[in-house]
Symmetry: C2
Subunit: 274 residues, 2 copies
């Protein structure tokens, strides 16, 4: 079993006191292995919460759309409670609400539209799709490094992140764009849950424009899973065209090893120095 | 008072039985004047729900980010109940949850990050921004019309929607893009709440590529309000680069009469015929 599976394991605590019988709580543990500095990575917390939420819709395991609001930073190395509520159960689509709490306080609030995507081999060709950016192979791309990010990166024990040579030094690119490869260090194949993590596991795209501007806390993140990935590296591109008054919209996309678009993402984040 | 204010009025029903005292319910009425065919427009329902949600954060009236999942179609001309919960109250940012129900069933489920944007005159120049598309003036653009959309459009009694001449005939453009002007027929100036409506009040962008493909129901919509608009027309651009397996991601942006970007939006919708 991969450490990602281990670190996103949840245990049902059963139905809570809810008239409709639709609320179920889960227990989990926030592993310190996914920290950025001393805070758990937001993508990891999202995956952990989504793991609980999708227990509610076993026939629809794929988050077609998931929104998360980060109310407070997660607590590294501590237990968490994930409350879930099945809002609507449909034949092809169901809607689930989630709250991840630690130390008695809500940290993440989530909404997801759950469905079932085809297996990669059975998926039809898209009518419209975003093409992947040109990238040197992973072997020719430098790894994301703690000194270059100005923060300790315990998460690098779990994730192998390689950046486009032009994007690896904060501020050097002169534009808010970041391209890179990502996979688990233990080479676990990516899946729907891994896509949620990997949609928020790269350095902020604004670093390319502004240089290191410290922690860029996410207010809200939406991830759309478009296709299940094939095994191998994921290729990510993250960019911003909209930064004002200390708030940035960062767009993102992930492609799998067959070149297919698997994720679109968008987040609203705070840029303290802008 | 403008009909939009009238049709989004909500009345507090007071605190519900909630241990934390954070839940408040509101009553409203879904006016039939905003229908597309016989269904209330999704942007109108969003504005109505957001009107209730922002009563919870009077010092932070602007939805910096709002996510809505459409669980079931709204019921035109019927009363609605909007349950709200203040999830976190912060100095500059608060998070509110909402559920709009009619006839005892939840229809919209929402999450919002609420804040306060500067008045247009006081807002700083953005560091990065999306430029508006080239557009002929409103006088040179044909109005959105019911025959061209293949559906009755009661909403046109409330909204003046003018389409770019190249985008006005479904299927003619050969690409999933739509540009147009929008304002209230009574010329009420746009504001934060109006931006939510107007982010989802144009024909689907896929009509430009596929022609009329019937109702394109929104699964989930996220609207980011970036700036308060000045009085006048809003200019909208909506486009898709990602359509597969009957699901489309539609991106959108609105600019105000001074040319400033005021909204970015993204939705996941079903395309029945694709």
């Amino acid at each position: 079993m991969s450490s990602f599976d281990d670190d996103t394991r949840v245990t049902t605590l059963g139905t809570m006191g809810d008239a409709a019988g639709s609320a179920v709580a889960f227990a989990g543990q926030v592993s310190p292995a996914w920290d950025i500095g001393t805070n758990p990575n937001g993508g990891y917390l999202l995956a952990l919460a989504a793991q609980a939420m999708r227990q509610r819709t076993p026939a629809q395991p794929d988050p077609l759309s998931i929104n998360v609001h980060y109310l407070r930073p997660g607590l590294s190395g501590q237990a968490c409670l994930i409350d879930t509520q099945l809002l609507r159960s449909g034949r092809t689509l169901s809607t689930v609400r989630g709250t991840l709490a630690q130390d008695g306080q809500p940290r993440l609030e989530l909404l997801a539209a759950m469905g079932r995507l085809d297996e990669p081999a059975a998926a039809a060709a898209p009518l419209l799709t975003l093409p992947p950016p040109d990238m040197p192979p992973p072997e020719a791309c430098p790894g994301r490094s703690a000194p270059a990010q100005g923060v300790g990166l315990p998460i690098l024990q779990r994730l192998d992140v390689r950046l486009h040579p032009d994007d690896a030094v904060p501020g050097a690119a002169g534009r808010a764009e970041l391209r890179g490869w990502i996979r688990f260090t233990d080479e676990r194949p990516p899946d729907a849950l891994a896509c949620l993590l990997m949609a928020d596991a790269f350095p902020p795209a604004v670093f390319g424009l502004l240089g290191l501007v410290g922690w860029v806390p996410t207010i809200e993140l939406t991830v759309h899973l478009r296709r299940r990935p094939v095994p191998g590296w994921l290729l990510g591109r993250f960019w911003s065209q909209d930064l004002s008054d200390g708030r940035v919209i960062e767009d993102g996309a992930l492609w799998d090893a067959s070149g297919q678009l698997v994720v679109q993402s968008r987040q609203l984040a705070l840029v303290r120095q802008a």
